[in-house]
């Protein structure tokens, strides 16, 4: 069941309503037994996605992505709360407790990472609008973030990410897809790519060149 829940969170088309995170923050916490392993896997996944998402939001000056970061940040707080409860119930002996303390420490760290991501997107706040210094800095990074539009001529249209092997062929990791006025965050292997999608991806310059040629329909296959 929880796997379904994870699917609901990632890899589906959605619109993060403005200030959805606030609603999430003030909903009551309900006790829902979830295995520690699932909680921790989700926390780790979020902790990796959220950094890229936060930097992308800042780089592309995108408030919608920033809203999603805030939402994931709040979600992370909840997961952290759940995992504490579950861990405490699982402890029977001193040895259990010692091992579980390690799990909680990793969970706590994942949560700090999401807080840091939240701080990054707060740089977008309107009051202290800064010049283009952030994009200027981020464009120099080792692995960069890119935006590519999918042309209807591309062979990628209506294919699953899995089939295209985007990441293993180009080294470009897809962080998000913008489709119409919705978003797909952390696209999964069975997510389709459609014409006119905007892909947000992370990788090297070379990978970006290959992938954009393919997505613009100038290359027939990814190789």
């Amino acid at each position: 069941m929880n796997n379904k829940k994870k699917r609901r969170l990632f890899g589906r088309l959605q619109r993060t309503p403005k200030e959805k995170w606030k609603k999430e923050e003030f909903t009551e916490l309900e006790y829902e037994p979830t295995p520690v392993k699932e909680l921790l896997t989700e926390m780790k996944d979020i902790s990796e996605l959220i950094i890229d998402l936060a930097y992308s939001a800042v780089l592309f000056d995108n408030f919608e992505m920033a809203e999603e970061v805030k939402f994931l940040d709040v979600r992370m707080d909840k997961l952290n709360y759940d995992i504490r409860i579950m861990a405490m119930m699982a402890a029977r002996t001193k040895e259990d407790a010692e091992q579980l303390a390690g799990i909680l420490q990793v969970a706590e760290a994942a949560e700090s990472i999401s807080n840091a991501a939240g701080d990054i997107v707060n740089l977008l706040s309107k009051e202290e609008k800064t010049g283009p210094i952030l994009p200027k800095i981020l464009k120099e990074a080792e692995e960069q973030l890119f935006r590519i539009k999918v042309s209807s001529k591309s062979k990628a249209c209506n294919k699953k990410i899995d089939e295209l092997k985007v990441e293993s062929e180009t080294g470009m990791r897809l962080i998000a897809i913008r489709r119409g006025d919705g978003w797909i965050y952390n696209p999964q292997s069975d997510t389709d790519i459609k014409a006119d999608d905007w892909l947000i991806a992370r990788g090297s310059n070379e990978g970006f060149k290959d992938l954009s040629k393919f997505l613009h329909g100038e290359l027939e296959v990814l190789d």
């Binding site: 896997t41 760290a109 990791r173």
Partner: protein, 193 residues
């Protein structure tokens, strides 16, 4: 040597902190204390970079090279990177403790969207004697090399000029389907990159 600019330092903090997150998670997967210790060392470096940056940013504002708003933005971005570095250190700390890791910990980290791989480069592998820039491992297989072990020496966050030798152990991160390709390359099963 040219003095590092404020922008250079922020970027270094960003890249290092992301490397640390990768290394700390992989130290858990492989139950590897050497990698975990490296995260500790990197955290020291990031701390120092952050201090240098603070000084540099303030100086630049004073010399009117940087606006107050830009300086604040840069410092806040770096602060977030520093927090991420701290979090990575917390993760590495779990590995360094004298308590056996909970099996769930390894399973969860292993089972996520991104995988870490450790592979030894065999003498008959095409990777031998090539630099990372030559073979473009990242853009061809999706696997990014995050650390390497060369004899007794370790190399963290290698760059394009780093050369792979036989017997090296590569730690890389990437998608599941890239993992097999990398292993085949390193073990000499395939020479097609």
């Amino acid at each position: 040597m040219k003095e590092k600019t404020v922008e250079d330092i922020v970027l270094e903090i960003k890249d290092k902190s992301e490397l640390m997150v990768d290394l700390s998670y992989s130290s858990l997967i492989y139950d590897n204390k050497v990698i975990a210790k490296e995260v500790y060392d990197l955290e020291d470096i990031v701390d120092n970079l952050y201090k240098t940056l603070q000084r540099r940013a303030v100086e630049n504002v004073k010399n009117k090279k940087l606006s107050v708003n830009d300086a604040l933005t840069v410092l806040r971005l770096a602060e977030a990177g520093e927090q991420i570095a701290d979090a990575a250190q917390e993760i590495a700390d779990v590995e360094l403790r004298d308590v056996e890791l909970h099996p769930i910990l390894k399973m969860s980290v292993r089972e996520s969207d991104v995988v870490f791989t450790r592979v030894k480069v065999e003498p008959n592998s095409v990777l031998c004697g090539k630099t990372l820039g030559d073979i473009k491992l990242g853009s061809e297989t999706g696997m990014y090399v995050r650390a390497m072990r060369h004899g007794e020496r370790w190399l963290y966050g290698p760059d394009k000029k780093t050369c792979i030798d036989k017997g090296d152990i590569i730690f890389a991160r990437g998608p599941e389907d890239g993992e097999k390709h990398l292993i085949d390359l390193a073990t000499g099963k395939t020479s097609e990159i």
